[in-house]
Symmetry: C2
Subunit: 601 residues, 2 copies
């Protein structure tokens, strides 16, 4: 294992220098906090990540969850970490005081989650899922549900899950068939199957509480007929005992990676005795669930960012010590070999990883800050940050996810044959990273969300606000020697995105919906690259200003490295938008015109 799995300096640079999260303490909502408490949190999180998560990274992969006798056994580190998370107040850290939480800024909490996920993604998700589920109960559930279920979840004793997917309803949630029939006692009798439920069952929590979508008998078809239920594995009886609730674990998937977390199959109501407790009102389940889904989508982006970061450091460490080859201009074969970090192609692969990882991290912290501004802000600022985050969520989920696979693959490539062997962690990072373009809404779904809903929503208001944000950064960059050219280049690509958007929306106007959305995934890819270029310019502005102000020593080298990485992004990653735009504006649409039979032979 590598010594380092993330950079503290970069994390603080991103939080404090780029996104100025310390300023959040100026709001009434976050008035109890400040940089000092943030630093304590970061230090504590680092300690937990280093001591309680990282040591089990490879071990949990080699010893994945086992399903037997209707239950799943996981690595004992899970129980320890859930306990630590519960006792340390991490599960409800960002909940408002009114929900018993600590009202920690989301952006700072994201930074802590980032460390946990970089240390051991599979292990990091257990309390994260619990937190989302508990929050949902607090937001929309009855006081009784909060008291009976959420409390034990927040303490880390019980696991929470998000139970949406069914064998026939993955991307198409409207096809959920799990049924719920009202019983006279006030609960509902639930019956159905769920699949791919993360942490859906395991032996390291005393109970598992599913936040489950089901359809009340007689409800409309599609998403409008979905209701949200608390469906515990064990229900709490009137006298406070735990009693089996007819939630049966029927299997556990063996997966390519992300193997430390069990993905369960569940069967509810085999004995017709599975009780579900309605959250909020009937038929409004999906709108409630979207709170948790949006959080989970951002969490996926963070997980992907974190894995890419850890893989980057593993390959960087190797590149510094592995001797191989000589400078291209060195003709004397008797001269000693040099560290591979001296080869331009290795540097390119390292810069690619760094650009993806640190660009994504900056976007994640920005997303956290938007949540913070929404929570702590007032009036227009509050609305603005909400709309912006809504707009950005598909990018926040997908750019790190898609590029995380590319980035971890580059980590393997830096190590060559050793990277492909399991003596080094990089092959596992790539296997782990591959889940992210799939779970919590595939990249295809995110593309449709961005182009089909977010770009056009409120008459393009969200898109407009986003462009304003970028313009603020380019305006700053233009006044800085050395960055003006990059600012102009970013503006050019933004203009290209506007042109592409207009050209696509034209199809929508003409009612050509298939054509409009056929390449939504590529539109998302293009938007993602531009968005990360913006994050890099933002970082470049801060770095250049600090250098101009006379930063010295280590700090100076770090800032110069930042500027090289920004240059890398503009030179090597941003040009991809040219080809994407060419495609997106082409009148030719083979995927729409062809028929399924054309794949036959």
């Amino acid at each position: 294992m590598a010594e380092k799995f993330f950079s503290e300096r970069n994390l603080r640079f991103t939080l404090y220098d780029v996104h100025d999260v310390a300023s959040l303490a100026g709001s009434a909502y976050y008035a109890d906090h400040g940089r000092e408490t943030f630093d304590i949190l970061l230090d504590t999180a680092k300690k937990i990540a280093t001591e309680h998560l990282y040591p089990y990274y490879m071990e949990m992969d080699r010893n994945p969850p086992r399903f037997a006798d209707g239950g799943i056994t996981v690595h004992p580190a899970v129980r320890d970490y859930l306990r630590i998370a519960g006792e340390g107040g991490w599960i409800n850290a960002v909940f408002p005081y009114a929900m018993g939480g600590q009202q920690i800024p989301v952006s700072v909490f994201f930074a802590c989650q980032f460390m946990m996920a970089a240390a051991n993604y599979s292990l990091s998700v257990y309390p994260e899922l619990t937190s989302g589920a508990a929050r949902l109960i607090h937001s929309f559930g009855s006081t009784e549900l909060q008291k009976t279920y959420a409390e034990k979840m927040v303490s880390g004793e019980w696991q929470g899950t998000m139970a949406l997917t069914e064998p026939e309803a993955g991307s198409s949630l409207g096809d959920v068939r799990t049924s719920a029939e009202p019983a006279p006692q006030g609960h509902y009798l639930v019956r159905g199957q769920k699949t791919f439920i993360s942490a859906g069952d395991h032996d390291c929590a005393d109970n598992v509480v599913h936040l489950m979508l089901a359809r009340v008998k007689g409800a409309p078809a599609g998403v409008k007929g979905l209701s949200l239920f608390v469906v515990p594995k064990k229900r709490v009886t009137a006298d406070g005992k735990l009693e089996f609730n007819d939630v049966n674990c029927t299997g556990c998937y063996h997966k390519m990676g992300y193997r430390g977390s069990p993905i369960a199959q569940l069967s509810m109501g085999e004995e017709n005795d599975c009780r579900g407790y309605l959250v909020g009102e009937e038929n409004r389940g999906l709108s409630y669930m979207f709170q948790m889904m949006n959080e989970a989508r951002i969490g996926v982006g963070m997980g992907a960012t974190a894995i890419a970061t850890a893989a980057y450091y593993a390959s960087l460490e190797y590149a510094k010590v592995r001797l191989q080859g000589r400078r291209l201009t060195e003709k004397d074969a008797a001269k000693p070999q040099i560290p591979i970090i001296e080869h331009a192609d290795i540097r390119r692969m390292l810069l690619k990883q760094r650009a993806i990882a640190e660009g994504s991290l900056s976007l994640m912290i920005y997303a956290g800050k938007l949540l913070d501004l929404h929570l702590s802000g007032e009036g227009e600022e509050r609305e603005r940050s909400e709309i912006l985050l809504d707009f950005l969520t598909p990018i926040v989920k997908s750019y790190p996810s898609e590029m995380g696979v590319v980035s971890t693959s580059q980590a393997i490539q830096c190590l060559g044959g050793y990277g492909y062997s399991d003596e080094f962690p990089v092959e596992q990072y790539m296997r782990d990273a591959r889940i992210h373009p799939i779970h919590e809404g595939t990249t295809g779904i995110q593309g449709m969300d961005l182009l089909g809903r977010k770009v056009t929503m409120k008459n393009g208001k969200a898109f407009g606000l986003y462009l304003e944000e970028i313009a603020q950064t380019t305006a700053k960059a233009k006044s800085i020697a050395g960055l003006a050219g990059r600012a102009a280049r970013l503006e050019e690509t933004v203009e290209l995105q506007k042109k592409v958007t207009a050209s696509l929306v034209e199809h929508a106007m003409k009612g050509e919906i298939d054509r409009f959305l056929a390449d939504a995934t590529l539109y998302l890819e293009m938007a993602g690259v531009i968005c990360i270029a913006w994050q890099w310019l933002m970082q470049g502005v801060v770095a250049q200003r600090a250098l101009d102000a006379g930063a010295s020593g280590d700090g100076r080298t770090f800032l110069e490295g930042k500027l090289f990485t920004m240059r890398y992004f503009f030179e090597y990653e941003l040009p991809a938008v040219e080809g994407l735009a060419l495609r997106l504006m082409s009148p030719d649409a083979p995927t729409v015109e062809m028929e399924a039979g054309h794949f036959d032979d």
Copy 2:
């Protein structure tokens, strides 16, 4: 497992219609063969692939080689397949009659190898490696070595390997340290370590014969001091017995994929009794080895093509039967779900895979035909085909390898969560595919080969011949309605490649070698995309002509599908050259300018 792992129709279309390999029978060298014998070979290969390789695909992954007591145990299917390959004459099929071979055209043999590799890549490499090693002995070794070692290899009784890599000498072969000291009896005493040796030891062959690079004592440093030896695990004594040759297997790597084939660590001469038998002359080892390395590089391209093909068919089969979602214009949630192949985004992902797999296959068969023209041709044609193949080898190796990872990842994406689970084979295809950008020369090494040597060799003659070949195709396409536009587009991108090349070569002229080669990997990527676009236009010409000539039924649908896939490639893949060219011609070179310390923080 999917029913289908390759398309017979497409294979024959590529062989006969696109590359007209039947015409090879017109040469004296291949006069004994013809389409009829080719078809029999293809049918036999299909039967072997289906019955003896495909059934063990997942099983060999789940039960990888085990190292114990100085030896490696592999799946028993290996012994069966080696026997079948030996008895069926597959190992020396393409060897000339003079070497006891059957003088089968390489292009046809490639098609057979393609089926084996699509069925089970790990299993397919055992006889392939043996073939390359035996060929090397036949080409440069003494009659005695041929009789003593090559015969048992060709019969499938003994395994052959290519033993180059050492712990400190992977990409940098000049640093090979294994030593060879001449002994009075005529052999050499070999001492050293080798690592990452494919099929370097296993229990399904009675002996393992290594074609090994070592340095004779006193030889010059670097590649000019490397000699080639036959180093058997067991040597043949004067009375024909087998005797341990002090070649010790010291370990076996556990890998991300490609797990059916053992990658061994070897230690020679621990008892100072490891005998090596010189092949050819001292210090010319690398030039001999290049015969095997070039074959192996093409073999890697084929393996990558084959894996991408099998993954494509697995995802296609799924996309046809998996019901999920409705048409975008269908608002009635009560309507039944449709097969996902009806969604444009899924079609895009299927077309991407098909375009990569079939485009690569076409290039592989073309490469095989160049070898055939070299073997069977005369004078200028002979030289032309050799130079062309030399030029193309880095592309033939790398395009399928790099894009094979992307393509298999798209296969996973088509299956969503199921694709990430090991119930379907696609996650294994991606894990298996990941080896290809690494072994037999990483993509970085191939890029340096293309730009640093091939483009400029013989004053650019090879590049010129390549451009002539493309021009022949565009000339044909221009006269066909519906293809003229694509031909013009290909010409445009070729012009762009010429411009980029000139701009890079200018750095070389100025002696800026670091700058010249810094982005060689990206140059290779650009060249690869254009090369495959050319292969697609070639296929498009044949398909459109056949359609215009009135093809009907199934055949018509297949040809229409071909044209859709060609359109896909031009619309979705070729545009990547725009961004690459922009990068490659930019004056900014962060990877050259920065220092290793800039990665510190």
